[in-house]
């Protein structure tokens, strides 16, 4: 039935049809609803059923636990700070209503640009933004204004992705570029203690909070050389202020399991991020930097605080921007974990280091790969020399 509908309207979108300029959009919807039944012409006749659409969909599925918990937490934080309590469903509904326009705006702006570019390049619409579009609202503070987010989305899709050639060709993780853009362009909206708790009412839910009632994240407190509130288990469960998707390690762990089981994310990258972070944080623990509160955060707390776990699971493992050689993944991951903690401890201005660590290592991933590929190349060259002598 769906097939018939598509067949009927197809001529409109083909060369010479009235709606030719929406060709990409039409194809996008068709391949969304039906598995393309184009068959191979050359090469292998049969193909593995996996395609990038399914890969991206599974990343989105893996993100959902963290997203849902984030929604609940938005409500929880708002009501707690206002000194009230409500049912978990109210918390969730409030958070859902807060997040919905953010997700809609992110997809509308990002996909809009992708549609235009795809049409222009006469390519199929690619699925990469499905993941990025959800990641961006999840890694921003909940109070980031919508227009700001729209600007960041546009910036990252155009300058971090499309100018490199689109999905699969970018060097930097687009979601992190969006965050970094805002961090440098509008620093006051990205950190400090005013941004982490939603402070307005939505559809009669929630509480309008006055400016004086604010709360910093645990890392924010430590960076300001205050004692850190909360304990390990609170960090793991995630009932505390923070970027929407990043607070609950349990929800992130569910996503991690999905990604590892389907082999979409590399366990090598993911685990070495944690190893790198743990080792460096442990070294700071025993280093005796007494004046630095961040250095004194126990190493196991570092791994569950802030965006560390979220970055390790969803950002560092991005197959496009991470190291592509298997051995390179160990080094790439390790350095991300290590750098993130170093930035946290030694940079007084900004309490979270994950974003910058990953972006920095995105830049070095090709270099890491280069070393391993070059090793293979010189082995071959050496072999030739031995044989020709």
């Amino acid at each position: 039935m769906i097939k018939k509908l598509f067949d009927k309207i197809r001529p409109n979108f083909e060369e010479g049809g009235k709606l030719k300029s929406f060709h990409s959009v039409f194809e996008g919807f068709e391949s969304f609803l039906l598995v393309p039944n184009t068959t191979s012409k050359s090469g292998v006749s049969i193909h593995d059923a996996i395609d990038s659409k399914r890969i991206m969909s599974f990343v989105v599925i893996a993100l959902l636990p963290a997203l849902f918990f984030g929604m609940y937490n938005i409500g929880l934080q708002n009501y707690t700070l206002a000194g009230q309590s409500a049912s978990w469903f109210t918390y969730f509904l409030y958070g859902f209503l807060v997040m919905l326009p953010r997700i809609v705006v992110s997809y509308a702006v990002g996909l809009g640009i992708e549609f235009v570019v795809a049409q222009w390049k006469k390519e199929e619409i690619q699925e990469g933004y499905l993941v990025t579009g959800l990641l961006i609202p999840m890694i921003l503070p909940v109070n980031t204004p919508l227009w700001m987010m729209a600007l960041a989305v546009a910036f990252s899709v155009i300058f971090a992705k499309e100018i490199y050639g689109g999905t699969g060709m970018n060097i930097f993780n687009p979601a992190l570029v969006a965050r970094a853009f805002l961090f440098f362009a509008y620093p006051t909206s990205m950190s400090g203690d005013k941004v982490w708790v939603c402070d307005s009412q939505f559809f009669g839910l929630g509480n309008a909070l006055p400016d004086t009632m604010t709360q910093a994240t645990a890392l924010g407190e430590a960076a300001a050389d205050q004692a850190v509130s909360g304990d390990f288990w609170q960090y793991v469960v995630g009932t505390m202020p923070g970027s929407v998707g990043e607070t609950s390690v349990i929800a992130i762990a569910i996503g991690a399991l999905i990604l590892l089981w389907t082999r979409i994310a590399s366990w090598k990258t993911m685990s070495s991020v944690f190893v790198g972070g743990a080792i460096v944080a442990f070294l700071f623990n025993v280093s005796g930097l007494d004046s630095n509160e961040v250095a004194k955060i126990p190493w196991y707390n570092h791994l569950v605080l802030g965006g560390f776990a979220f970055g390790a699971v969803f950002m560092a493992t991005d197959p496009v921007t991470s190291a592509r050689t298997e051995k390179g993944k160990y080094i790439y991951g390790f350095l991300i974990g290590a750098l993130a903690i170093v930035i946290r401890v030694l940079n007084p201005g900004y309490p979270e280091g994950m974003m910058l660590a990953i972006l920095f290592m995105n830049m070095f991933a090709p270099l890491i790969d280069y070393c391993f590929v070059q090793k293979n190349i010189s082995k071959r060259a050496k072999r030739m020399k031995v044989n020709n002598d």
Partner: protein, 451 residues
């Protein structure tokens, strides 16, 4: 002393319709095709014009570049027509077979008293030399080269592939004669599977035998070369199909060219998957007609196996290197709703987002020819590396070929590969890139540049 190689990377694909080890008939057809297109790198000049009579073993085409490599007729008969394609490229010469089969007699050969040159000349004259392929470039070998080795693989792990242990049954000594003949030309390396150790093809004298254990593509001769003696720039190795070694053995033993081979007829579209004995160039229709499942669905006829075979049709002919003919559903008439998110139990995938892993490794799948996705840039990392057992970075090599960076292709080992080595990687590629085509074009360009 046999060396044992354990291949870990790769993927076996279990398809429905593996050929049963029985022979239905020995087939004789009315006409046969002699196809120079089966011999990549061979530029044909016509020796036998339309209307002339040829014997089995009479040269029909010769290679323009060397004027020494011939392709001969598999049967005696009259050249009925020369079929040309685009730009007058010669596709086939069609021979109408006559009743009394006359065969060119090259005389029996005493392997102990024949020089390398004489043997080489004999193979060139009899058209069997054309079956040698060389690496680099995976083209018909050049008779002026002295290869550092000749590699033969006696098994294939490709889905629906013919089982050589069965194909060679009763002809083991002929096969060994062929190997002994090869050893006059260069040192010979034979790669066998563990199951073949205790069969009659062993022991093989005059060759170094290695055992390769592991999933597809462990039967690819390219993998064997890479593990035993990888090719460096400037070196040449030859490869030849195990079935074609039998052709050489027959020539040595009888002095006659006999291009009969045992072909597997396989795939879910076949009613009785089994073997047929026939000559190369036979019409596919004769091989499978009446044996194809009667369904409304479209079927694809493949000259070869589903991974490296050529898409063909009822009007096609058996290729010169073909060891099996498979028929599987085409799939262009299937409409699957929301497939990207459905569990899809009957679709095979190495990715565990499909629940086919629940069915275990022994489940046989009935896959169709849909690509099942749109073409993308390489998104996932190390996909190819997981199934590519050679000491090469396949994704980097592919990128170097796509960007046309010849120096880098050389550095990354393009001389060691043939398109078939990328078949499994192409199967699992989630970006749906046509890897074999990319590699073939890359090799062709490189060959032209280096010439």
């Amino acid at each position: 002393m046999k060396r044992l190689f354990k291949i870990r990377k790769g993927l076996d694909i279990n398809l429905k319709g593996v050929a049963e080890k029985s022979i239905s008939k020995t087939l004789t057809s009315k006409e046969y095709a002699i196809s120079p297109i089966d011999f990549h790198g061979f530029v044909p000049r016509i020796l036998a014009k339309e209307g002339t009579h040829v014997d089995a073993g009479t040269p029909v085409f010769t290679d323009k570049a060397t004027e020494r490599i011939n392709i001969v007729s598999p049967v005696s008969g009259t050249i009925k027509s020369i079929v040309r394609g685009e730009r007058r490229k010669i596709l086939h010469a069609i021979v109408e077979a006559d009743d009394k089969s006359t065969i060119v007699d090259f005389g029996k050969i005493d392997l102990n008293n024949i020089s390398r040159e004489n043997l080489s000349d004999l193979l060139l004259k009899s058209g069997l030399f054309a079956f040698f392929r060389q690496r680099p470039y995976d083209v018909v070998a050049n008779p002026d080269d002295e290869p550092k080795g000749i590699f033969v693989s006696t098994f294939s792990k490709m889905p629906l592939a013919a089982d050589f242990t069965y194909v060679v049954e009763g002809q083991e000594s002929t096969f060994k004669t062929g190997i002994s003949a090869l050893s006059k030309l260069a040192s010979v390396y034979v790669g066998i599977s563990p199951e073949q150790i205790n069969t009659d093809i062993m022991p093989i004298h005059d060759a170094e035998v290695s055992v390769f254990n592991g999933p597809n593509p462990s039967g690819n001769v390219g993998v064997h070369i890479n593990k035993i003696s990888p090719i460096n720039k400037g070196e040449v190795v030859w490869t030849i199909g195990a079935e074609e070694v039998i052709f050489i053995g027959r020539l040595i033993e009888t002095g006659k060219v006999d291009l009969t081979r045992r072909i597997a007829i396989a795939g879910s579209g076949i009613q009785q998957p089994q073997y047929i004995e026939t000559l190369i160039g036979a019409p596919l229709a004769d091989l499978i007609e009446g044996n194809v499942n009667k369904t409304e669905k479209h079927q694809r006829i493949i000259d070869g196996n589903p991974l490296v075979g050529r898409k063909s049709s009822m009007n096609g002919y058996l290729g010169a290197h073909t060891t099996e003919v498979s028929v599987i559903p085409e799939g262009d008439d299937v409409d699957e709703v929301l497939g990207w998110i459905m569990p899809r139990f009957n679709d095979f995938s190495t990715n565990k987002s499909y629940f086919s892993w629940l069915s275990g490794k022994n489940k046989q799948y009935d896959l169709d020819c849909r690509i099942k996705g749109g073409e993308r840039h390489m998104i996932m990392s190390s996909e190819y590396e997981r199934v590519f057992p050679m000491d090469i970075y396949p994704s980097y090599l592919i990128k170097a070929i796509i960007t046309g960076d010849i120096d880098r292709q050389e550095e990354l080992g393009i001389y060691e590969v043939a398109p078939e080595d990328f078949a499994v990687a192409e199967f699992i590629c989630s970006s749906k890139l046509e890897l074999q085509k990319i590699v073939r074009e890359g090799l062709d360009i490189l060959r032209k540049e280096n010439a």
